[in-house]
């Protein structure tokens, strides 16, 4: 492939996946997964505890001081900031000066694979890693130093804003990755990164560094996935703790826009699977509306479908519980995070394992490196995909169960979680169906 073949040549990354896609799932694996999900769901309904067990932020076993000290050290924070800023500078310089051909430019892979997909394992293992790395935070900090302001100073954030900016940012990013006509082109990436930086630096200038906590799409994405990390920080005493992922998940802040953010995560990943189906590709290729418009509508429809199902379910829950439940929509949103994680692992594992090393090889100076062979064969990938989706489902069911026995009156707790259970089964079976398609 050469760079002279215009926009088409750079479409390779447009599917979110490099030259090779995972094989469609064989129905055997899908049925096995669906049955497992159904079985576990109803088992959970009958057998799980009837009094809430999760303690949220208060849980966890503190790590020894020998671990805590270097993790909290000024040098560590400085190193993380330097690393983040250096990587950002590297990407921007490659985008500005590097070749247009994504086979020779590591920047698109760095954004779509190392950052976007790489945040998933990094956050799962180490917690909200994008917070210390975020180059925009560092820029804001440097600007504050220059103007002799404290970074935290600023107007108080409007309460209703919540995570909405992050939901919008996630939607914009997934649109760029999955729908934009030329997602790997330097121009598209520079425009996106430029607008992203401008919006968030302005937000931070007005509201202070707290702005990034819930408004920066990548911090929120990393933070939500980090809820499932065994490592966490206890807000009460600032200790690093090892904790059950359920406690981390239970402590997900119930902010406005949380539902929207989770729905964008689920919907966009679902669209990514859906957009590989030949029937959808034919629709897009032959649509009178034009490709980008049709694909945009498809992405929005996927997010809207996920959100509508969730809203219906929340309505049903409220109906069943007789209105005693405050904000049922937000109260259970955290239980969708593991399901979204299952989707992400199922869709992006092979991409990360093949395109990640290729991007690193490109960045270290290799010319047109070959992507390595996928580490898992077709059977292994299929097993992993089903396992990821079903595990996400099980974690979601358990998280939702604990939340419902806490919030609902005991007599209604079992029937009250039925709508959510049905919704999760729908998401899981839908996710498996997308892998067959």
């Amino acid at each position: 492939m050469t760079g002279t073949w215009g926009p088409g040549a750079v479409r390779v990354l447009a599917h979110g996946i490099g030259a090779q896609h995972d094989l469609p799932l064989s129905p055997f694996y899908a049925f096995a997964g669906a049955f497992a999900a159904l079985f576990v769901s109803f088992l959970a309904l009958g057998l799980l505890w009837s009094h809430s067990r999760f303690k949220g932020e208060r849980a966890g076993r503190p790590l020894p001081a020998a671990v805590q000290r270097p993790a909290d050290a000024r040098a560590t924070r400085l190193a993380a900031r330097t690393l983040g800023l250096g990587a950002a500078l590297f990407v921007v310089l490659w985008l500005l000066l590097g070749p247009a051909d994504p086979d020779r430019n590591p920047a698109p892979g760095a954004v779509y694979v190392l950052l976007w997909v790489g945040l998933v394992p990094a956050s799962l293992l180490l917690g909200p890693v994008w917070r210390p790395l975020n180059p925009l935070r560092t820029l804001h900090l440097l600007a504050c130093r220059a103007f002799r302001r404290t970074p935290e100073s600023g107007r108080p954030l409007p309460v209703r804003l919540g995570m909405w900016p992050a939901a919008a940012g996630l939607l914009a990013f997934t649109w760029l990755e999955l729908v934009a006509p030329d997602p790997a082109s330097s121009t598209a990436l520079l425009v996106f990164l430029g607008v992203h930086a401008a919006v968030h630096l302005t937000g931070a200038a007005v509201y202070g560094a707290h702005w990034f906590d819930h408004a920066d799409a990548f911090e929120v994405y990393s933070g939500l996935l980090a809820r499932l990390s065994p490592l966490g920080r206890r807000p009460a005493d600032g200790r690093l703790v090892v904790r059950s992922p359920f406690n981390g998940l239970d402590a997900t802040p119930q902010l406005p826009g949380l539902v929207a953010t989770v729905c964008v995560m689920l919907g966009s990943t679902a669209y990514d699977g859906f957009s590989d189906a030949p029937r959808w590709i034919t629709t897009v290729q032959t649509s009178a509306l034009g490709r980008t418009t049709t694909a945009t509508l498809g992405l929005l429809a996927a997010v809207a479908l996920v959100a509508t199902l969730y809203a219906l379910c929340a309505g049903a829950t409220r109906l069943v519980c007789g209105g005693g439940l405050p904000r049922p929509l937000t109260a259970f949103a955290h239980s969708l995070v593991p399901i979204a994680l299952g989707y992400l692992v199922a869709h992006y594992f092979t991409l990360f394992a093949t395109e990640g090393p290729r991007t690193l090889a490109l960045a270290s100076g290799a010319d047109r490196p070959e992507a390595p062979e996928p580490p898992l064969g077709p059977g292994g990938v299929a097993t992993l995909q089903v396992f990821a989706i079903v595990t996400g489902h099980v974690l979601g069911v358990i998280a939702a169960h604990d939340r419902s026995v806490r919030l609902m009156p005991p007599r209604r707790a079992v029937i009250g979680q039925l709508p959510l259970l049905v919704l999760m089964i729908a998401y899981t079976v839908g996710g498996l169906a997308l892998l067959i398609a």
């Binding site: 479409r11 599917h15 590989d276």
Partner: protein, 266 residues
């Protein structure tokens, strides 16, 4: 004075034109072996529209509507003794060797073979043996092209492009044994892919033969295997490779950015 100059120039041009035309008309018609009423002068009757453009070899193009236009496909297979066996599959077309040199008639004529653009031979039927000596005499090459021509030696054309098919004379296309080959035929007309993009299941290790015909100049790309081929407008291009990696691979065009099919290799 200034106004008179253009007028004089025009007059000179007109004179020159009249002289040239006159000279053309006065030149007597060459006597040939052709039957009366048939000559090398191209027929301009109802059998297609004669275009100014030629096929790159001095034969003018004769354009017909895409509906019912002659079509050709080309398959090559190495001969066990010498050279290649060439098979032409034609649609809406008949070989008429007995009237060659006569007037053009719709859907009739003969085929010509070219090797990397150099004329090789005229073909009057579906099968043709291409000896190695002929390939050597033509200067060698691997890209074999077959074009359809009318009896008056004009090239049948659709959309200003001659009706042609291309095959590659390499060992890769040698294994056309039907037991181990999966053939996928795709045509692109007006941005539409026929048959509609779908999935082709292929057992690992089989030979895949992609035959693609586009009505625009384009580039074909098989992802994963990184096979690429130019798709000249109106010609069937065959890409052959062995499916030795498992996975889902997309076959796309790069200019029009269309998905043609997905190969599911397992």
């Amino acid at each position: 004075m200034n106004r008179a100059r253009p007028a004089r120039t025009a007059l000179a041009l007109l004179t020159a034109a009249v002289l040239a035309l006159g000279a053309g008309a006065c030149g007597g018609r060459a006597t040939t072996h052709h039957k009366p009423g048939t000559s090398h002068a191209e027929d301009t009757g109802s059998n297609g529209r004669l275009l100014k453009a030629d096929d790159g070899d001095g034969n003018r193009l004769r354009q017909v509507d895409a509906d019912g236009a002659p079509e050709v496909d080309l398959a090559v297979r190495p001969d066990s003794e010498d050279g290649w066996n060439v098979h032409l599959t034609v649609r809406n077309f008949r070989f008429t060797p007995d009237s060659v040199g006569g007037g053009a008639l719709a859907g009739r004529g003969h085929a010509r073979l070219f090797l990397d653009g150099h004329p090789l031979a005229r073909v009057y039927g579906a099968w043709f043996h291409l000896p190695e000596s002929l390939l050597r005499a033509a200067g060698g090459g691997t890209r074999l092209t077959a074009g359809l021509y009318a009896d008056d030696h004009t090239a049948w054309a659709v959309g200003s492009a001659p009706v042609r098919a291309t095959a590659t004379l390499t060992s890769a296309s040698a294994s056309t044994d039907d037991d181990t080959t999966t053939t996928v035929d795709v045509a692109i007309r007006g941005g539409k892919v026929t048959p509609a993009p779908g999935r082709t299941e292929i057992a690992k290790g089989r030979t895949v033969r992609l035959r693609v015909r586009s009505d625009h100049d384009d580039v074909l790309h098989v992802h994963g295997y990184d096979k690429e081929a130019k798709l000249p407008a109106g010609r069937a291009v065959t890409v052959t490779f062995t499916a030795d990696r498992t996975g889902l691979f997309e076959v796309e065009t790069h200019e029009s950015d269309l998905l043609l099919t997905q190969l599911v290799v397992r």
